[in-house]
């Protein structure tokens, strides 16, 4: 059969769907579940296990159970700093690898195992082989991440007909039964590991993306991590002797599960009782977690999505009030605080779909229907999220294709030889919005070949083309010989592997040496800023606080001064933090005062 399936390959969960008599239907596995956790467990012997069964192994076998692999796909070493996975992640020969026992796996290989399971479920449900797929990616994924996702599909035995952006897919799912009309919608997609915001215009069946923005390192997993930290703090406060035990991998895995579950429950309840069993003995830790506590730690994470929303609105040249709908996508958007936040930014109540974790898969399936011809009169016009350019003389980035250009699109540049008989010239290709080349992401580099001629006489035209998948293809053409060549880009890390790894190793060595000294110096600097600031604040607004509080602040100041003499970094850091926290009220008073003065000046 020539069915094309639609797949949402999510950070936390994956789904697969197919067109059935003109409708997109999501396929369930043997247990009747449409969601397959994006988790792979590698037993000591036997085949890898994918899905809910693997998910249950996370706390039992944390080093052999891989989750959130989407955070690693298409990434280069050095790009993942805060990912603290219980399974081993290594960098080798310019790429990231997951090490399980004595085997190494590339992230796309692990993703392909998830895709294979989805494929098997689909074939079992449909009763025939399934060979073609549409797979979704975050809109803000760069070229390497898209290519790696395609490879994962190919390794799973699929012909990947299209890579589709997740918010666009969600918009399709939303708009399929509103085709006659015109509307401007924003899709706020906050998943386990990535955030995207896209603004689209629907116009008689044409879904046109106006702008897209996002962060591929921001998601629900970050909230889980902060909640884990809160639990650890509470536990050590009551049981300081357990500090070491908390770093144990098994305990951490269990704690992450508990944090994740508590977060989900607090979307509908105001208070949950959390039970955390200890590893040693049969003691446990019981804690009542209130929704406000969760929201206090989630708020700064959610707030980070604001600037992306603002930039997206700017690029679309739209005021939030001109939008007709805001659609929420991703399980995390079930949190009330997210809904409130979105309502605040866009100044309207968001549209809350029944199943925020199914919209993307439904949309991918609709796209598969468009490609196979089963759905007519619907057109998707998507864009490339990042500006594409090359590095120029002086280390600047020269933009060839600006961000939010509708794809497919192309741009050409003509190159010539700078000196006589020059045979090659290196071109560095970049994606990003920064002025300086080095601040952008390097997509790859290639060598342009020249015929040996006098300076300025060589002419090689290079065409940069971004296809409908958002992937770059480069074609070079020597104008004189007419010789055309498809250019293969390689990344800087492939080229200078050993050198780069040596650099990283060396900098790590020195880091440990300097670390102790550097930490102390940093902490002292902080104290030296804080102390005069507190004195200044007390002078400016000191009479507005209670004498009791003033005494407390003064004793905290003395604590810092004593710690400065002690050369105990931990103690000084603690004293700084306590002084910080103790002066928050002062800080608020200062701001009030400054705002009042600003208002006076304006009159």
């Amino acid at each position: 059969m020539n069915d094309i399936v639609g797949i949402d390959l999510g950070t936390t969960n994956s789904l697969i769907g197919v067109m059935d008599s003109g409708f997109p239907i999501l396929i369930a596995d043997q247990n009747g579940s449409r969601l397959t956790p994006s988790v792979v467990y590698f037993p000591e012997s036997g085949e890898p296990v994918v899905g809910a069964a693997a998910d249950r192994m996370r706390a039992l076998s944390p080093e052999r159970t891989v989750y959130s692999i989407k955070r690693l796909i298409g990434r280069r070493p050095g790009e993942s700093e805060k990912d603290d996975f219980p399974f081993v992640v290594k960098s080798q020969a310019g790429r990231m690898l997951v090490e399980i026992g004595t085997s190494f796996f590339k992230p796309e290989e692990i993703s392909s195992l998830i895709l294979k399971k989805l494929r098997a479920d689909a074939e079992s449900s449909l009763g025939h082989p399934v060979l073609r797929a549409v797979i979704t990616v975050p809109a803000y994924f760069n070229d390497a991440q898209r290519q790696a996702t395609m490879r994962a599909g190919e390794l799973a035995g699929f012909t990947v007909e299209r890579i589709v952006n997740e918010p666009t897919a969600a918009a399709l799912a939303y708009g399929l039964d509103r085709l006659g009309g015109r509307a401007r919608i924003a899709v706020y997609d906050l998943g386990g590991g990535t955030f995207d915001i896209s603004i689209l215009e629907l116009n008689d069946g044409v879904f046109r993306v106006l702008s897209t923005n996002g962060n591929t390192r921001l998601g629900g997993d970050d909230i889980d991590r902060e909640l884990m930290r809160l639990f650890k703090d509470r536990i050590t406060a009551r049981h300081p002797e357990l500090r070491a035990e908390l770093e144990n991998k098994f305990f951490a895995a269990r704690l992450r599960e508990i944090a994740h579950a508590a977060k989900i429950r607090l979307s509908t309840e105001d208070l949950v009782q959390v039970e955390i069993p200890f590893l040693s003995g049969d003691r446990g830790f019981s804690y009542n977690l209130a929704r406000q506590e969760l929201e206090a730690i989630a708020r700064p994470i959610i707030r980070r999505t604001r600037s992306h929303c603002l930039r997206s609105l700017d690029d679309a040249k739209l005021d939030p009030l001109k939008l007709d709908e805001i659609i929420l996508v991703g399980g995390v958007t079930r949190m009330p605080i997210v809904r409130q936040f979105v309502a605040e930014v866009f100044q309207r109540l968001p549209n809350i779909p029944q199943n925020p974790d199914e919209a993307v898969a439904v949309g991918a399936t609709i796209q598969s229907g468009i490609l196979s011809g089963q759905i007519q009169n619907v057109v998707l016009l998507d864009v490339t999220p990042l500006s594409l350019g090359i590095e120029t003389f002086g280390g600047l980035m020269n933009v060839l294709i600006p961000r939010n250009s509708t794809i497919p699109c192309k741009a050409g540049e003509m190159f010539t030889n700078a000196v006589a008989n020059q045979t090659a010239m290196q071109i560095v290709v970049l994606q990003g919005e920064r002025e300086l080349a080095k601040d952008n992401w390097e997509l790859g580099r290639f060598e342009l070949e020249f015929q040996p001629v006098a300076k300025g006489l060589a002419r090689v035209g290079v065409q940069f083309e971004i296809d409908a998948n958002g992937i770059l293809h480069v074609l070079a053409r020597d104008v004189q010989t007419g010789h055309e060549k498809i250019v293969d880009l390689h990344s800087a890390v492939d080229v200078a592997d050993e050198a780069v790894e040596k650099m990283i190793a060396e900098s790590l060595d020195h880091a440990f040496e300097d670390m102790g000294e550097r930490l102390w110096t940093e902490t002292v600097l902080k104290s030296n800023e804080l102390l005069p600031a507190v004195r200044s604040a007390l002078t400016l607004v000191g009479e507005q606080i209670e004498p009791e509080e003033r005494r407390k602040i003064e004793s905290l100041v003395l604590q810092v001064e004593a710690a400065l003499k002690s050369h105990d970094q931990r103690r000084l850091k603690q004293a700084n933090t306590e002084l910080d926290e103790g002066t928050q009220q002062l800080a608020t008073l200062l701001i009030d005062r400054a705002m009042a003065e600003a208002a006076k000046r304006r009159r």
């Binding site: 116009n203 044409v206 046109r208 980070r304 604001r306 600037s307 603002l310 930039r311 700017d314 057109v379 016009l381 600006p402 250009s405 509708t406 794809i407 497919p408 699109c409 192309k410 741009a411 083309e465 296809d467 409908a468 902080k526 800023e529 804080l530 600031a533 507190v534 200044s536 604040a537 910080d580 002066t583 928050q584 002062l586 800080a587 608020t588 200062l590 701001i591 400054a594 705002m595 003065e597 600003a598």
Partner: protein, 187 residues
């Protein structure tokens, strides 16, 4: 050189209403999809739309078609003056942003508030000035549109200046606005 106006079946002139341009693009894009659905052809239509959507690039394209590569050769002095104000505001903003992002203490940030408030006001002023200039340039573009058919050559120099100024004003506005967003991020 491809004539993007012709590609979208549009009249060659300095001003196009947003709705008209959008409809022309959607119509042509649908036609191409129905006929060849070829990447090359689709790309060209997409680039045509992008070029004609932005008044700066549209005007430059118009000039290129009518008069060859007609770029304004010299920058008028008043543009240079604005550049000075923009650069100063942006540099001040970058300095404060630099020290703000190193700051995690509520008290220290509160103390810096007044200074930052001043910087943000300056940014807002500059942004507003740039928006005004952009509006004035777009108005001028509309006026030139009226006499375009009567005497294109007369419009040429003025159009070249407008294209150049719009490019700078747009670029500077983005730089200033970006700093505003970064302050929001850190506040």
């Amino acid at each position: 050189m491809i004539d993007y106006f012709a590609l979208l079946d549009l009249e060659r002139r300095p001003f196009i209403a947003d709705e008209s341009l959008k409809n022309a693009y959607l119509r042509k894009s649908e036609m191409v999809r129905a006929q060849t659905n070829e990447l090359e052809a689709l790309s060209s239509v997409n680039i045509a739309f992008r070029t004609l959507s932005n008044p700066a690039t549209r005007t430059q394209h118009l000039l290129n078609l009518e008069f060859g590569d007609a770029r304004a050769s010299r920058l008028a002095p008043d543009i240079g003056a604005i550049f000075g104000t923009v650069a100063e505001a942006v540099q001040m903003a970058d300095r404060e942003l630099g020290s703000l992002s190193a700051q995690s203490s509520a008290l220290l940030r509160a103390l810096a508030y007044q200074k930052i408030d001043g910087v943000r006001n300056k940014l807002a002023e500059v942004e507003s000035e740039l928006s005004k200039r952009e509006s004035a340039l777009l108005l001028e573009l509309r006026q030139l549109d009226e006499i375009w058919h009567v005497d294109p050559t007369q419009c040429r120099d003025r159009l070249a200046q407008i294209a150049l100024r719009l490019t700078f004003v747009q670029k500077w506005w983005s730089e200033v606005h970006e700093r505003q967003i970064r302050f929001e991020e850190l506040a």
